[in-house]
Structure formats: C-alpha cells, structure tokens
Symmetry: C2
Subunit: 393 residues, 2 copies
C-alpha cells in the first residue's frame, strides 16, 4: 500500500515538473529550535550523539529544505519546484517515549511571489488524489488567507504577537468548539469574526487564487474556508488543508505560503509555498473506499512447470519474459502441478502460464486467467532474447 | 540519479515477483549485538534514547528482516520473496563521529533450500544492472561456496572457530595481499589452497548453481571465484559478489545463503538467501560509464505562453495534458517569449509547446523539439478532459 501511494506521489510530482531531492534524517537540534522555538523539543526524538552533538531525527522536512534551498538556490533557475518523500519522526510520549514514524510527500515552490504557485501546488495535490482513485466527491481542498486575518487584527489594533497567536488558535479550533466558548474567547471581535466566517471575506489573494484554480479545472475541488489557519507560526499568506468531505478522517494534506522562513533559516530572501501529505491518513481513506491495491504485483505471470525435465526451458522463458518487461514468478523447487496453480493464486498473480511438453515441442503454452479460469494457448514471440508478445498459439 | 537507480531496483524486483517491505530505521542495540557480537558497536550510530533505551540507527536491514520474517512468516506461503530499499547508517569515525548514510537494495528469499533461490537472486541482480544500462562486459558476478572451505578445513581437522575465521580472512584479502604473505599465513594448507584457487573446486553446490544460471541465460555473467568468502560470519553456503570487470570500484553487490540466521534471531528454522546492493558504487559506475540520466524529467513539455490573456487557456491545457499522462511545466508568472523558451531548455525539458492566438482560435499550437530546434504544429486531442494525443495540426 505504501509503495502504491509513493508511486502515485512520484508520478504526480513528475507530471508537474517537480524534481526530487533528499536530505539527512538527522539534523542539529538547533535547526528545529530556530524555526519553532524551544517548546518543539518535547515532540522531537532528540538525543546527544557519540560526538557530543545535540541532534534530532527530523520531525518535518521544511527546515532541511530551507537550508538546502538556501545553499543551492544559485545553481538553479527560479522558481525551484522540488519534492521529496521523507521518513519523519516524532517522540511518542503516550507509548513511553517510543519512536513514531511516518512518511510524507513534500512539495515546495521557491522564488515565485504570485498566487500561480499556490494554484500549481493545489492542482498537483488534486492530481495525486485522483491518481490514487479518489474523486472530488471524496475530498475538498479548503483554502484560507492567514494574511487576511493578520490585516483584520491590525485594523483592530491587535498587534501583540501573543494575542495574535491566541486569536489564530481560537480560529483553528472553532470547528470543534461550542460557539459560545469561541465567542467568549474572541470577545469584542466575535460578532465580526463570525460574520466573516459565514459571509466570506474580501480577499484579493483568494480571488486571484480561485481564478487560477478555475483555469486549472479545480473549481469543484476548492472551497474557501477562513477557519483554516494552520497551527505553525511561519505561514504568511494563503494556507490550505485537504479533508475528506465526510469529515471522518484527520486532514489529508496541508500547507501554505511561507515567505519569511528562508530568510530565517538560510538568510536568503525568497518567497515559498509548500505542502505536506502524510502516508497514514491517505492510506486509511484508500482502505475505507476500498481503493487499496489488490495485489502488489499487478499483471503478473506464474509459470507452472509440468515436470522437472522442463525446468531449464521454463527458466529460459522466465528470463526472456522478464527482459521483455513481464513480471514473472515460478516454483523454485519441484511441486505437483495442482500445487503450482494454487501457488499462482495465493501469490496474487493474474495469470498462470503452463509449460508442458507442447512448449518444448512447438513453443506453445497454456495461459490461464486465474480469476475467470479462462484458458487459451499462446506462443511467446522471442526477439533478441526478449518476449515481445504472447501470440495466439 | 538516486531515484533513477531506485526505480531500476523496484522494476527488477517486481519483474521477479518480489514484494516490498519496510522496517524501522531505529532498532534495539541488542539486535545487532546478537547477530554480530559486541565488536559491531564501534561501527554503529548508537545512542541512549529519551526513554533510556539502548538503540542504533540500522547499519543493515538483515536483522530487521529476520525478525519480521520470523514474526510474519506464517501469514505467507513459502518461499517468501521480499525486497526493500532502506536507508542505512554508520558511525563515521574519521569525520569526528558524523553519521554516514546510504541506501541499499535488499532482496531475500526465505524458505527455499535449493540452489534455485541463489540463481533467482543472481538473475535479478543481473536484470537490474542491465536495466540501468550496464552490460555483462562491465560487470561480473563472482560466486563461491563458503561451505566448501568449511568442509575443506574440517577434512584438515581445523575446527576451532577462531582459526576458521582467520582462514576465511586470509582468503578474503588474498587478492590484495602479496602471495608470500598469504602462503605464510596459510602455513601447511597453502599449497592445497592455491591449487584449489587456481584449479577450481569440486563443489556440487556450485555445479548445480551454474546449471541453473545457464538456464536463466546468465552463463557469461557468472564466474566461480573461491576467494569470495564475504566478511560477515553468518553465511552458510554459496556466497557471491558483483564487481566491475575493470576492478576500478568497490563491490557493486554481495550476498549469499544464511540458513542459520533466522534461527538465531527469530527462533525459526528456515533457510534463506539474500543480497545487498548499495546506491553509492553503482552510482559511481553509472557516472563513469556516462549512463547517468540526462534529466530527471524525461519526455516533458514546457508551455510557452505567448501573452498573459492566453494564460487561462494554457493552464487548462496543462491540466488536460497532465491528466493524459504528460509531464508539463509552464512559467508561473509573465515572462517574455524568448525567456520562456530559454527556461524550457534550462529546465531540461524535451519539448516546448507554444500557446499563441492560433491555439485560442483553432486549438493548434507549435511543438518545438528543443535539442533539434525542429518545429511542427500539433492539435491536442482532448477526450473527457484528458489529452489523448498531439495530432498533426
């Protein structure tokens, strides 16, 4: 399942012209403190290594990405479009400090100030989800504008960073909080905030984004929802989350614009937009929708060897099939024919290819589609050592 | 490059009916001590974690594999054919205790006592190397029989495990050691050992393996070389290494049969054969042979947008192309046409697709092959929102 998801992610990344990069799983603890402050340490799997260095297994790739982009951005034309599928780590307090790990698809565009970058990222996420078999009736991309709220607060003379943070936290939790509790916390701003949430905001950024999304054919996938603010402090503009429409699962993906982070981490002034999609939630949803891949093997063939004198012929055919791009397995030791057909099914192969005396005599073998029990005779055409087709036999 | 290599490894694994698995990058230190003894610790990136546990970043996947196979083997039909592409870690003493990391392709067959398993593994390695563009003139698979030497020593009443280890070490280093030094170390056995190395050994195992390799079309890839013993102590039968024929690089891959390790680690009595191929040496060889992929993108398209009024049309086309399986990039903000063609080349795209007024009027755009400057008119055929072909325009 994991490889199935990775494969979809990679394919969409390539379809959108993103290049793959990778970074070290272990980083100096300082890198995460610099981005997120000391309070992050409780969630990190950090330790002192043999050389006395304070290090942590990466909980996210963004700081690594920012450092790499800062170090190498002069070697590439902007905008950079980079993706990665890193393994990420958290300290699991509940399970007595165990390591919790998962994989995440990360995509980032660096050096593009316009909302075309956000639209491109959203289109890629949508492409990947559809590629994995979901439809837009299954998920929705909720877009919001964090800067809209910062402007709103500034207009109301809320400039204290602690108060701004508290306000964003109330919005972040508003969906799961009784309205009266949120209203109380919002105080004098509550009437206006609820009016904006219900009536929609006047955000030129969101208007521009929605227009680009419409051109990209995303209109029925994207929806404005100003409650989305994203927990982390570094976003500076549009933020978004992808959710299942049924609301059964946690967020499928999330991200946004972070125009200041590269300055903070790598001392370069470049705007950036990025997202992360974990393998866990999407895996749960695919299972729930019965979209998990049935077998790991797809269209694959199991050679049934009628008797051991035919094994050399069968092995040669296996090689020629594999060199021709076929996926092939066969019994490694002698087994009764019935057992071999059974093995073919148990291992999830689509076809059994029966190698009997007729194959030795005239190159014809029996091809059985295991699901339907349908059987036909085929003749493998071998050109330059490779099977180029299984012709009618 | 790394992804290019991984992709080749995955494709060969699937062609041979191997299923992918994964394990945790962090394991209890005990697991490695159990397999390799206390002396392994100097090479490990180990530490005490927040919960007070002694752990290590995995230096190899085999102990993890053995544990997983032991825990889950009842859920699968034997033989198991499993592969993984783990990231592995070593403690780098030379660089003041830094972490050294690389990736490795691991493939193992569990539950097959016959030499068919070894042959299958060798055929898969050969398939992958050819898939990456190498030929059998570039590499050779050297096979040996560790058990042959153990039997040889037993016949000469060498049964002390320290002496056996020393003997295998002499063989392991014999290629890089002056003959007189090796002869002295081998003492009374030296004449016979050198005769065997030069004259070939009488090993039924190797004869059977070579016959299976011949059926699989591997004869010109495989060569018996009794000097191969593999350093690690757990191999019990056939061992092998893959080398570049020029001898310029370290071993490309290595492995062998380890029929006792699952007993030791997981307390199950199942025979096994496995190998590992790192990403570093093969990467060096592909670069050396100029077989590195030219661009990460392959056949990809860069849309050149003649003026900004056409951007919505261009974005819609980008979506339809991507949904049709094309790899597509385009300028995220307004740029002069000349700059856009330049960007298409700089980013390594194969084609530029010019979207001008003619596309708006009649659906025709210019397709330029960047390497040859050849230009033709094409008309994207859009069916169900997807481009199914670029027809002559």
């Amino acid at each position: 399942m994991r490889e199935h998801i990775f494969s979809g992610w990679r394919e969409s990344s390539r379809a959108f012209g993103f290049s793959q990069y990778d970074g070290p799983p272990l980083e100096p603890l300082e890198l995460y403190k610099k981005k997120s402050g000391d309070e992050i340490i409780g969630q990190l799997y950090n330790f002192t290594d043999k050389g006395g260095r304070e290090v942590a297994l990466r909980p996210e790739l963004t700081p690594t990405f920012a450092r790499l982009a800062g170090a190498r951005h002069r070697d590439y034309k902007k905008p950079l479009k980079w993706f990665a599928i890193p393994q990420l780590f958290r300290y699991e307090r509940a399970q007595r400090g165990r390591l919790r790990e998962h994989f995440q698809w990360n995509g980032d565009i660096v050096g593009e100030p316009s909302l075309s970058a956000e639209a491109e990222i959203l289109a890629m996420i949508d492409h990947a989800l559809r590629g994995l078999g979901l439809t837009r009736e299954d998920y929705v991309i909720r877009v919001s504008d964090r800067q809209f709220w910062l402007d709103f607060l500034a207009k109301h003379n809320v400039t204290d960073s602690g108060k701004i943070y508290d306000f964003l936290q109330v919005l972040d939790k508003i969906e799961r909080t009784p309205e009266e509790v949120s209203r109380e916390k919002l105080g004098s701003l509550s009437a206006e905030v609820f009016a904006l949430l219900n009536g929609g905001a006047d955000s030129r950024r969101l208007d521009t984004l929605l227009a680009a999304c419409a051109s990209l054919g995303l209109s029925d996938a994207v929806q404005v929802d100003l409650r989305i603010v994203r927990g982390l402090a570094y976003y500076t503009g549009v933020v978004f989350e992808v959710h299942d429409r049924g609301g059964k699962f946690r967020a499928i993906a999330g991200g946004g614009r972070y125009d200041n982070l590269l300055q903070l981490i790598a001392d370069i002034d470049l705007p950036a937009v990025g997202f992360g999609m974990g393998d866990v939630v999407i895996g749960e949803i695919l299972k729930d929708k019965n979209l998990a891949p049935k077998t790991a093997d797809g269209d694959s063939y199991y050679l049934v060897i009628a008797d051991e004198t035919l094994r050399p012929r069968a092995l040669a055919l296996a090689s020629a099939l594999r060199d021709g791009g076929y996926r092939v397995d066969y019994p490694l030791s002698a087994a009764k024919v019935g057992r071999q057909f059974q093995a073919a099914e148990e291992r999830g192969h689509r076809y059994a290819l029966f190698i009997g005396q007729e194959y030795a005599d005239s190159g014809v073998c029996g091809l059985k589609t295991l699901a339907t029990r349908e059987q036909v005779n085929v003749k493998p055409l071998i050109v330059g050592g490779k099977v180029t087709a299984l012709a009618d036999g």
